[in-house]
Structure formats: C-alpha cells, structure tokens
C-alpha cells in the first residue's frame, strides 16, 4: 500500500461551500422553471394537453333512405371519404399547404381561401378540404402521415338519387347546413352538418338525419392513431316511406322527358301523392358532394328554371280547367238557372270588346247547354256564365275549391296561386274591378293562377262530392287533414258527367279515352302572354300556350287523379290527355296485376299529330288585356312569364 495520500493538505472548505451554494442556486433556478410552467402557464398547457392528446373525429351517421310505397329504394346513401385538414398548428399549416395542394391536386389559392374562411372557427375543429377523396388522395394521405400530419380522412355518406333528375324536386337535395339553420336549431345542428335543403330531404330532415357519433382517438407524435379511447356510435337516420309509386313516377318522368312541365298523380280518396314529376329537373347527384358556384349560377339563370318544382310552385293560368269551378259555382249557387243555354257563333261581345271562342274561325258550337259547354269547352257559354255569376261568386267558389291557398302538402315552399277578386284589385292596385276582367277569369285566364297540385286536388275533390283530402307524400301519415265543401249530389253528378264527356263523348280530350275505364277529366290551354304582345313579337315558340289536362278515374269517387301541365304544349287535350291516360292505364294495369313493362314501353313517345282531329286540339282564348301585375306579387320568373296573358 502506498502512502502518497499521507501528506495531504487540509480541505478547501471555502471552495466546497461555493459548490454547495451553487447546487442550491441550481435547484432554485430549476424550481422556478417548474413554477413558471406549472403555476403561471398552467392553464395554457392544460389546453394544449387536452387538445393534443386526443383527436376527435366525427363518425357521420348515414341518412335514412327514401322508399316508395312498396319499399323500393328511391334515395339512399353510399360511403365515401372526405379529406379533413387539421388546423391546430398554424406554423405547420403554413408550411404544409403547398405540398397538400399539390398532393391532392387542389389549387393552392383555393386551399388558402378555405383555410382563411375557416379562421373564425376554433382551431381544433378540422375542415373538409376535399369532399370526395380519390384513391390517389387516400394513398397520398397515408404515405405522408409523418411529414404532413395535417390530413385525416373522414368517412361520410353521400346521398345517391336515381339519376337523371328522377323525382328530383320532390326528393330535394342535401347540402351543408347554413349558419342560419344552425342558429335556429337550438344546438341540434352544428356547422358542417349535412341537412336537407329542399323537398322531402328538408321536410323530413329530422327523421332522415341521424345523430353523428364521435371517435376519440389517441394520436402519437407523427399523427398516427395509436388507440381509441371512446367511441360514440352514430345513430343512423330513419328511412322514410313515401306514398310515391315508383312505377307511376317512372311513367310520369318518362312522359315529361324533353318537355317543360309537371305531372302530379293523387289518390283523392286519401290524399296520397302517387307521383310528382317536374321537368326540367336538376340531377341532385351533381350536388351531393358540393355545388360548384358556376353550376349553381347556371341552374339559377336557366330560363327554363329547372330548380322550380312546377308541381307546387308553378303558378299559371289554369285555362279551361277552371271551367269546372265555374260549372260547380253555377249549379251550387243557383244564381243562374240550370237550363241556361247560349248560342255560340264563335265570338261574343262584352263591355264593348270582342271575346272569341277557341273554335273561332273554324266552326261554331251552335246552341250550347251546361253539359255540352263542359264537353266542348265552349268559351262563349262560360263568358256569359261568368258575367251572370259575377266575380264575387267566382272567387268564392274558386277559393273554397282550393285555389289561391296552399294545399298543405308535406313539402316546403309550396306556392299559393291567386284567386282575383274585387277586394284583391282594391288592395293591390288601389282601383276598382273592371267587369271585363270577370269575362277572362271565367275561362281561367286573367289574373287567376293555380299550381298543378291545386288543380289535381280541386278536380279530385269535386268528383268526390266536396271532400278534399290533404295531399301528402309520407306513407302511413297520421291525421291526414281534410277539407269539406259540401257539393250537392246533383251538382257532382252533372259536373262529373261533363268531365266524362270530355273524354268519352268526343270532347276536347278524346285522346285520353281508355277502354273499360271511366276516364274523365278536363283539358285547358292557357295563354302565356297577352294577345297584343304576341302580335308585336311575332309567333315565336316562346309564347306558345301552356297545355293542361287533369284526368281522373273512375268518374265518381275517383281513386286516381292525374294533373298534367306541359308548358308551351299548346293543346291541353291533345298533349296532356295521352300522358294522363297512360299513367291511369299504368295504374290500372298494375292494380290488375299486369306487368309494368307493358305500359312503360308504350309510354315512351307521343306522336302529337297522329290521328287527332284539328278541331279538338284548339283551345279557347279571350282577348281582354289583364291588369299589369306589379312586381311585389310576382313570386318567380317562370310564373311571370305565364301568369298574365
């Protein structure tokens, strides 16, 4: 053992003390660091911990399907992926955007704008930057999880509609909830939710829409999910079964192919809507993902207004269909003797002005009684009738038979139509009613307007003897409303006899005749613009008459009413009649167990000029110029084009 340590100096006590103090100072410094983090900035780090550890990804609940009356799927959903951008890290976001834009092939300006517009939202709320991810997008996201931990995929359910605009207006479409809807929902809706925007999607949104679930996932440092904490299951939306019959709807859609108009099929006994078609129609699949602005603009600017649900929103002059209201008013009010006859020379003069019958220049109706007036749709008879009833009675009966007010169908944005009256001109135009206007209204021209649904309900209700079931699209609806307006048995019998004659006694809609079926109805051709204007601009197609036909079967207590509107179709009986006939035939064929193919194939085309006598396809018109309708009572452009004559 060596003794090198024996001669040691004494200890460097001062320096050892300095080391001790250094250790103490070091500890105080470290503790002050903890004090700052844990006491002073604790709240800040608490939030960071809360936000950073657990990522909440919504689980989107699928919307309920829409089914037809037999359970066939009309609208369903399919799974798809959206790309979510996580925004909790602004620095990372700025760095990553160009790469993301390139990887997902979005324009960088577009992306920047999306991020910018989401700035008011809380940072931890991700935004959808690409609603429909392609396979390449998914590969990009998966392979760049580590270096771009900003992207996440969200499984969503896209709405799928029968293509080509099938039932598009009735079904409506879905879209991102608007701010106002969020505010009005009492917290039930959140920004970004997909809700029904129009039609049944909107009407039954609460049923169709499920409750989104939430997956709280643990993500590690590179944004990869390493575990799940809790998962709140999504509650899928409930299906909605409709009164729509797919086969009849298909027949109606087919009938309107390439035309502008609407077909409404009702069962007046219970108010069920069996079909509701409106053309032209947008294809809601095109905005199931996201409506492009230019596309939306195009749809809105289209002069054919494809977004208008003509069945409930087209407010047009009903033309001669209105004569059923006149006929009912005549018999019910007893202001005019039933035995009234009029001689029709093709024209007549009222209040110093000449009014023509629709056969003017070709033939005359000769002596016309009540029945013949309906069957032949003689304008002269109804001009006289209108003059004798007066506008008050006409408007009373028109209102009570359902014109000028909503039918109350379970669809949003139904229009009222208009029943003019002395009170109305007084209120709106601050002038007196001109007696000449009554003459126009008597044949469904002038200021009177109605929707196809209103006319279907009216004709059905009259044939039911004054029972008006509220039209509805929801099958098994409870407490279907009804309105009663007592029409005497005698009146019902005589008016329906007239409508039977329209089809079966060589009337204006002979083309609608069906063997073995008591097909009845009333045609109409309504002028779109005034006669004077038409002369000025020349006889362009744009100003062709609107064709109406409201057919039903059987003659009394009908089980099916079909209202057909073909804009610019010119001749109600000739154009609308066969359409209604085919749908009624389809209905009975199906009821009697025949294959649906039989009628859908037949339905395809209409040869308008084939075998129809010219005399039958011309329609009445009146020559009185109606008052100019001011802007504030014009609900839409389409209506403006056609409501006045």
């Amino acid at each position: 053992m060596s003794y090198w340590f024996k001669t040691d100096h004494k200890m460097p006590h001062t320096r050892l003390s300095i080391v001790s103090y250094s250790i103490a100072v070091m500890m105080v410094l470290l503790l002050s660091g903890f004090w700052k983090l844990q006491i002073i900035d604790s709240e800040h780090y608490n939030q960071l911990a809360e936000r950073n550890s657990i990522r909440s990804i919504p689980i989107i609940a699928p919307r309920g399907n829409m089914l037809d009356r037999e359970g066939r799927v009309l609208v369903d959903s399919y799974p798809s992926f959206s790309v979510l951008l996580l925004r909790d890290d602004p620095a990372l976001l700025d760095h990553g955007l160009p790469q993301i834009a390139e990887g997902l092939s979005i324009s960088i300006d577009d992306l920047r704008q999306q991020v910018e517009s989401a700035r008011p939202l809380p940072k931890f709320q991700p935004i959808v930057i690409k609603p429909e991810a392609s396979k390449a997008d998914i590969a990009f996201i998966e392979s760049h999880r580590a270096d771009i931990p900003l992207l996440e995929m969200l499984m969503v359910h896209r709405r799928r509609y029968i293509p080509g605009g099938f039932m598009a207006h009735a079904s409506g479409y879905v879209g991102e909830v608007s701010e106002q809807q969020v505010e009005n929902s009492n917290g039930r809706l959140r920004p970004g939710d997909i809700v029904g925007k129009t039609g049944l999607e909107k009407q039954y949104n609460d049923t169709l829409m499920g409750v989104d679930g939430m997956r709280r996932a643990i993500v590690n440092s590179v944004g990869r999910e390493v575990g799940r904490l809790t998962e709140t299951e999504a509650i899928p939306g409930k299906p909605v079964q409709l009164t729509i019959d797919y086969d009849l709807q298909a027949a109606a859609e087919q009938a309107l192919q390439g035309r502008k108009g609407s077909i409404v099929v009702l069962n007046p006994r219970n108010g069920e809507v069996l079909a509701m078609a409106s053309r032209p129609a947008p294809d809601p699949n095109e905005f199931a993902v996201r409506i492009q602005r230019d596309q939306w603009q195009r749809l809105n600017d289209d002069p054919d207004v494809p977004l208008l649900n003509r069945s409930i929103q087209a407010q047009l002059a009903p033309g001669s269909v209105f004569k059923i209201i006149m006929a009912t008013a005549m018999l019910e009010s007893k202001a005019v003797p039933e035995s009234m006859t009029v001689f029709c020379p093709g024209y007549a003069e009222f209040y110093g002005r000449q009014f023509k019958c629709w056969v003017f220049g070709k033939t005359t109706h000769g002596l016309v009684d009540f029945h013949k007036a309906i069957v032949q749709s003689c304008d002269i008879f109804f001009y006289n009738l209108g003059k004798r009833l007066g506008i008050d009675r006409i408007s009373y009966y028109a209102s009570h038979l359902g014109l000028g007010k909503r039918t109350g169908i379970d669809l949003p944005a139904e229009e009222n139509g208009l029943v003019p009256s002395e009170e109305w001109v007084n209120r709106v135009y601050h002038r007196k009613w001109y007696p000449g206007e009554t003459i126009s209204v008597a044949v469904g021209q002038g200021a009177v307007t109605a929707t196809p649904l209103q006319l279907a309900r009216m004709i059905g209700g009259v044939a039911m003897g004054g029972i008006f079931k509220r039209p509805h699209l929801l099958k098994d609806a409870k407490n279907v409303g009804e309105e009663r307006f007592a029409i005497s048995e005698d009146t019902t019998e005589k008016v329906t006899q007239g409508m039977w004659g329209v089809v079966n006694e060589g009337g204006t809609a002979s083309s609608a005749k069906l063997p073995g079926i008591e097909m009845s109805g009333k045609s109409g051709s309504a002028q779109v613009i005034g006669y004077d204007t038409r002369n000025k601009v020349g006889k362009k197609k744009k100003f062709k008459d609107n064709a109406w036909f409201v057919g039903y079967a059987p003659r009394r207590d009908p089980e099916i009413v079909v209202a057909v509107l073909v804009e610019e179709g010119e001749h109600g009986g000739a154009v609308g009649g066969p359409m209604a006939r085919d749908i009624v035939k389809a209905y009975y064929d199906k009821k009697n167990g025949k294959l649906q193919q039989q009628y859908t194939a037949q339905n395809k085309q209409y040869d308008l000029s084939s075998g129809l006598p010219q005399a039958n396809v011309l329609q009445p018109r009146a020559f009185l110029k109606p008052p100019e309708v001011p802007a504030d009572v014009r609900p839409s452009r389409a209506e403006r084009a056609s409501a006045s004559q």
């Binding site: 080391v19 470290l30 983090l37 604790s42 911990a49 550890s53 590690n220």
Partner: protein
C-alpha cells in the same frame, strides 16, 4: 488492522434519501408503463436497485486508498474498453454503446465515468499544493480528454459531457488560477466552430431545435414541447397517479427514463416536483458535506467527483424536461429506468460510503 468502522458509520441519512428517490422513481415507472407493452419495467428497476445496493455495500468494503492505487490500471482498462466498444460494440439506436456482460448489455461509458472519478481524484490528490499549475491543468485535461474523445466517437455526447463537470469541479477544488480559467474559456470558444463540425447531424439538429423549437414541432422539438405540456398541465397538485394524459397516452417521450420527471410533474404537480427536487438537493448537499468530512483530499476529491457527476445529471435532465436545455439523453439519476445508469449511481455512492466509513480511521 481495522480498516473501517462499523455499520453505524454508513451515511444512513444519505441512504434514506437515495431509497426515497428510488421509490418515487419506481412508482412513476409503474404509473408510466403499467398500461403499455413496457409493463413490468418497475419490477426490473427494483431488481437493479437491489443489485445496486449490494454493490454499494460491497464496493464500500474495499479501502478507497487501495482503489486509488490501482487508478493507472483502471484508466488503462477504461480506455481499452471504450476502444473495444467502438470495434465490437453492440449497436442500438444508431450508436455503439453496449457490450454484452452477464447476459445484459452494459453501457461501458457508465463504468468509465466511475473510473474517471477515481483517476481524477488520484491525480488531484497527487498535486499536493493548493495551487494548480498550468502543466497539471493540461495533464488533467488530457487525462480526461482521451476517454471523452472515445465516448464522443460512439457517439454519446451526453455521457461525454458528464466527464467535463468532474474535471471542472476537480480543477476548481484543486485551486485553478483565474488566468487559466480565462485561457481555457477562450480556447473553448475558439474550438466551438470546430466542435460543431464534429457533431453528428442528429446532435446538430437537437441543438438547432433547442434554439428554434418552432421549426420542428413534431421532431425533437416535439419531445420538448410534449414534455413541457406534461409539466405545465400538471399544475400545482397534479392529475394524480396514473391520470396524466400526456404520460398515459404516450405523449411524453421515453416517459419511464429520460423524461420521467415530466411524467411525475404531470401526475404529482408542482408539489411532487418540489418534494423530489428538495430530496435531490438534500442528497447533493449531503454528498458535499461528506466530502468536507473526508479524512484526506483524496477522499474529498472522490466524493466531489461523484457529487459533480450527479449534480450535472440532475441539472441537465431537469433543465431538459422544462425546455431549458436541448435533448441530450442524460437520465435522471436514481429515478430513470436503466440498469447501467442505476448501477453507476450506486457504485459511485459506494465510493462515497467507502470514504465516509474511513473518515476516523488512521
């Protein structure tokens, strides 16, 4: 001749502090890992502590004078071991640090730390004056520099750095002159750019990240950020054992080892951290006190070498946890999980006991 005194002369207060800190460490290792695939880690740590304790008592039985006598041979062994690690060592995490010993992978550099403490103690006690000459300063620097360089080659910047405080505290206690301090500092500043080029890319990255953490929030800056979030969100009272989300969800990086204090801070809050750091302070001050009471300068230098190493570990690790220093991979002594590190601490405390139980013996 009786070489030491009885069991009463062991520093039982020091041991009490050591086992309390180990207990806190094991509790937190349990909390941090029981729900993960690391489960069972705390039991292994208990075994390391038990083995360490046995080694501590065993090591304290050899007279430290005898150990100091063998300093040159130990130094040779240490340098050779470091050299062999570089040649045949087991590569883990991109660095050659481990050689297989007794079926476990021991980190040779931990053992080398202990050897350097002994070698420096021997060297400084040989100086005999209260003044450190320039020649002796340079000798000490070279003595320390060789193994330091070898450890840097592994590369293990963290462990290499631990050698420096031993040297610094040693030369300070040995009586370095102020002009030499100035010279060394100037030299170090001039070497800094050179040193930067020697650093491995990941080491450079850690330093740049430390200086600009916002550049890399998901890389190593992310680790510090997560650590700070864990600490900060703990608040004063903490979230409770097993309730720290940062810890339990794995956001705290290596939460059972280097960042164990972050896990503790989250679950036990400032109160827990305060208690722990006060325990560490008591431990370190107790070491200095033992140095003051050592029988000779050799014993004093041994104890202070240990104190310097442990203080540096605590300082660097704790400062890293709260984002005051870059990530270096230096564990928290006695608390962090790890065999080599735990054994090093217990062996070095064995040295301290060795000196203590012989303070009254001639």
């Amino acid at each position: 001749m009786r070489d030491s005194q009885g069991v009463r002369e062991y520093d039982w207060w020091l041991l009490a502090l050591v086992f309390t800190i180990c207990g806190i460490g094991i509790l937190e290792i349990y909390s941090a890992t029981h729900a993960s695939h690391f489960a069972g880690m705390h039991t292994r740590q208990i075994w390391w502590v038990v083995v360490g304790t046995i080694l501590l008592f065993a090591f304290s039985r050899f007279n430290y004078h005898t150990i100091l006598d063998q300093a040159p041979i130990l130094y040779l062994v240490g340098v050779l071991a470091l050299g062999s690690v570089l040649m045949v060592g087991h590569t883990r995490f991109g660095a050659k640090r481990w050689i297989p010993v007794l079926g476990q992978f021991l980190q040779v550099s931990e053992l080398v730390k202990l050897i350097i403490i002994i070698v420096l103690a021997r060297f400084f006690s040989d100086v005999r004056t209260d003044r450190l000459s320039l020649a002796d300063l340079i000798k000490a620097g070279v003595l320390c520099g060789l193994p330091l360089g070898l450890i840097l080659l592994q590369p293990d910047l963290g462990t290499a750095m631990v050698l420096l405080p031993m040297l610094v505290v040693g030369v300070f206690l040995a009586g370095i002159e102020w002009k030499h301090v100035l010279a060394v500092v100037l030299l170090a500043l001039m070497m800094l750019p050179v040193g930067w080029h020697v650093l491995k890319p990941y080491q450079k990255e850690r330093i740049t990240t430390f200086l600009h953490p916002e550049d890399d929030p998901k890389g190593s800056g992310y680790q510090i950020l997560q650590s700070k979030i864990a600490v900060g969100s703990g608040g004063f009272r903490g979230k409770g054992l097993g309730n720290g989300s940062q810890n339990q969800l794995g956001f705290v990086p290596v939460r059972y080892s280097d960042f164990i204090l972050a896990a503790l801070a989250e679950e036990f809050g400032f109160a827990g951290v305060f208690t722990t750091l006060v325990l560490y302070m008591a431990l370190l001050l107790r070491l200095v006190q033992n140095a003051q009471r050592a029988k000779d300068r050799a014993g004093m230098f041994l104890v202070m070498g240990v104190a310097a190493a442990l203080s540096f570990h605590v300082l660097v690790n704790v400062a890293m946890v709260i984002g005051y220093m870059p990530v270096t991979g230096i564990p928290l002594p006695l608390m962090s999980y790890g065999g080599s590190a735990t054994l090093f601490v217990f062996l070095s405390l064995g040295l301290v006991m060795n000196v203590r139980i012989r303070r009254f013996v001639n």
